[in-house]
């Protein structure tokens, strides 16, 4: 039995449906991420789990117990807020001790547990400071220590790293992974940052317009997006619209206007005449001055239109004969070579048919 179960949860605000018939099971010890653009309903879903809001339809179960209507203070679920929500009139130690005080833990025990919790997040000796005196990363750690001190069954994290700068964010990501492994508590993490979701999670639920549109491990979501939205939202993807012509098992050909029939693979049943897109990631597109056509590969010619030097890699935008642009990505690791191509160079593009996914509209 899953630790946390959401069955058919729907939440409306007037005519707007923020969460639409969501079904979800999250296992004990899992690092689960809800990923989606702003307004997709991920924060509303998190608030339903925390108990700040109740669904109009559906149920929420924790350990098989229905907690749909349980008030937040009676749920063994804690939240790390985007704003951290540290009580500004209490010291760091009092903030961390708050859940223990509410649970009427004996005073003597509170002191030692708070000290330990602060040591766990590398804030030993900071207990007497006020939240305003801490840096962003330190506030973050206090918020986490406060939410974990009475060992909840589930920790909810609402875009906890959004307010930090890039360097600190990367460091905190590593710390979060280590921490979650250490305490073994289920994390439900909300973010709109796909890179963060891929790096942190055991499993990701991608949300769009109130629904969970795809559920799976990070690599599965990245490698095998099931919809055009997921392919486009996670990472970057070249998308070519077309109609299915021929089918053979998981292989098919797609008629793309201006480019002819291109080979692709599919993971969902399809039939001739279906419309959809061919999705291929830039790093799967080979780019070279000359590529000999090989069976089982899609082969196109174009001119370098634009290039984006990103340090470790360079992204080339290649204009095809019909005028459309495709992206190809090349690592700059080859010794001594900074630029492989210049704008205006004629290049060949190629990718294996398995690397190109057909996605229904």
């Amino acid at each position: 039995m899953a630790l946390l179960e959401i069955r058919g949860a729907t939440r409306r605000f007037g005519n707007f449906v923020a969460v639409r018939d969501v079904n979800l099971e999250i296992e004990a010890g899992e690092f689960f991420t809800l990923l989606g653009p702003s307004g997709c309903g991920k924060t509303t879903l998190l608030r339903l789990i925390a108990g700040f809001d109740t669904p109009d339809e559906g149920r929420i179960l924790l350990d098989g117990r229905d907690i749909t209507l349980t008030p937040p203070e009676k749920r063994p679920v804690h939240t790390v807020f985007q704003s951290y929500a540290l009580f500004p009139h209490m010291t760091v130690a009092d903030n961390v001790a708050f859940p223990l005080r509410m649970a009427r833990v004996p005073r003597a025990e509170i002191g030692s547990r708070v000290a330990q919790a602060l040591r766990d997040v590398q804030l030993a000796g900071m207990g007497e400071r006020l939240p305003q005196e801490l840096s962003g990363g330190q506030k973050q750690r206090v918020a986490i220590a406060r939410a974990l001190i009475d060992r909840p069954r589930v920790l909810l994290l609402d875009e906890p790293l959004a307010a930090l700068d890039l360097k600190l964010r990367e460091q905190m990501q590593l710390e979060l992974i280590t921490l979650q492994r250490l305490v073994g508590i289920t994390f439900v993490y909300v973010t709109h940052d796909q890179g963060e979701a891929l790096a942190l999670s055991h499993r990701i639920g991608v949300m769009d317009a109130g629904r969970i549109v795809q559920l799976g491990a990070p690599d599965a979501i990245y490698e095998f997006p099931e919809t055009r939205f997921v392919a486009d939202f996670i990472g970057t993807c070249n998308l070519l619209e077309g109609t299915v012509r021929t089918l053979a098992g998981t292989r098919l050909t797609l008629e793309v206007a201006g480019l002819g029939e291109l080979a692709a693979s599919t993971r969902a049943p399809a039939q001739a005449g279906d419309r959809g897109v061919l999705a291929v990631r830039p790093e799967k597109v080979r780019i070279a001055a000359q590529i000999a056509p090989t069976p089982g590969e899609v082969h196109l010619r174009g001119v370098v239109h634009d290039q984006l030097y990103l340090g470790d890699v360079t992204v080339y935008k290649v204009q095809l004969a019909d005028g459309r642009l495709l992206e190809a990505l090349l690592p700059n690791s080859a010794a001594g070579v900074v630029k492989f191509f210049e704008v205006g160079d004629h290049v060949d593009l190629a990718w294996r048919a398995e690397a190109a996914l057909f996605l229904h509209d």
Binding site: M1, R7, G8, T54, P55, D56, E57, G58, R59, L61, G64, D66, T68, L69, P71
Partner: protein, 312 residues
């Protein structure tokens, strides 16, 4: 394990009676207090303005009950008197004139100061603002009394004015107890009410707008009339409302500085209640005053909406 997927009872609906109790526990006490000590007295004033004065002053009962049933004893006479007796119409006009003159003087006096504060460096701004607020908080009567000293017959100002008048063959005049004294007093007590909203408005403006205007060839005056001032219109209207309405109903300023020559409607209301003891007529005068004030507020709100529309 099977759990029906029906519609759960929302917590809010199951706690309706408790939620309603909490709502009334919070809003009930202030609502009750203000209903009793503000709303009802104001409504009584409205009713009393249609009544007759009692035999020994005050208010005669508005209704009575006898064998024949309930009788109402109401009249429109108080309002008829206000509109037919030239004395009272003239008083309202005078009060409107004072309030208008006060508003214009305050605007002229407040604008440069508000502009200087808004353009000052951030760390001086709060101090400059505090300097405006401090005299505003010192006792109202003291601020009026200060003008008694300044305009008094022995003060340098009066002596100087009378010396000049003497040169031209005029007899001496008193600055105190005159319409001039009333205007000075009104401007003095109202000025901060104009400075603060003007400042709040001007502070939001981007100085780059002015630079852009100058850059595009506008003269300093053109800049002011075409850029700064139109943008400040909402602030001007807010300030004008805050100055105009209290000035219209002023009582203490004309009472202390006006003498018999500087009387305003507020003084007449006071006389009707405390000396003539004709409450219904006093009530009608106050209700008229309130309607004038409400009308001015409405006009200001309308102008503010138009101003905002016209100047974004």
């Amino acid at each position: 394990m099977s759990i029906s997927r029906g519609v759960p009872k929302r917590r809010s609906s199951s706690m309706t009676s408790r939620a309603r109790l909490a709502r009334w526990a919070l809003s009930g006490p202030p609502l009750a207090f203000l209903a009793v000590f503000f709303l009802i007295p104001t409504l009584i004033m409205g009713l009393a303005s249609f009544g007759w004065p009692g035999q020994e002053g005050g208010l005669s009962p508005l209704w009575y009950h006898d064998a024949a049933g309930w009788h109402f004893d109401l009249t429109l006479g108080n309002y008829r008197d206000i509109f037919t007796l030239k004395l009272f119409l003239a008083l309202y006009l005078r009060s409107l004139g004072y309030a208008l003159a006060t508003t214009v003087c305050c605007l002229v006096g407040a604008y440069p100061l508000a502009l200087v504060i808004a353009r000052a460096r951030a760390r001086y701004r709060n101090l400059l603002l505090l300097l405006v607020i401090v005299p505003f908080w010192s006792n109202f009567l003291i601020r009026i009394y200060a003008w008694m000293i300044i305009l008094g017959p022995q003060a340098a100002l009066s002596r100087g004015v009378n010396a000049v008048l003497g040169l031209f063959g005029f007899g001496p005049t008193s600055l105190l107890f005159s319409p001039f004294a009333v205007l000075m007093g009104l401007v003095y007590v109202s000025l901060p009410f104009m400075i603060l909203p003007l400042y709040a408005n001007l502070e939001k403006h981007d100085p780059a707008l002015l630079e852009a205007a100058r850059d595009l060839g506008a003269s300093a005056w053109a800049c002011f009339w075409r850029v700064t001032f139109p943008l400040a219109v909402p602030g001007v209207i807010a300030g004008a409302t805050l100055v105009f309405i209290p000035a219209l109903g002023a009582f203490a300023v004309p009472d202390i500085l006006g003498g018999t020559r500087g009387i305003m409607i507020g003084n007449v209301i006071e006389m009707e209640f405390l000396q003539a003891r004709d409450w219904p007529f006093g009530a009608a005068l106050s209700i008229m005053l309130t309607f004038l004030a409400l009308g001015a507020t409405g006009l200001a709100a309308w102008a503010a909406r138009r101003g905002v529309k016209a100047y974004g």
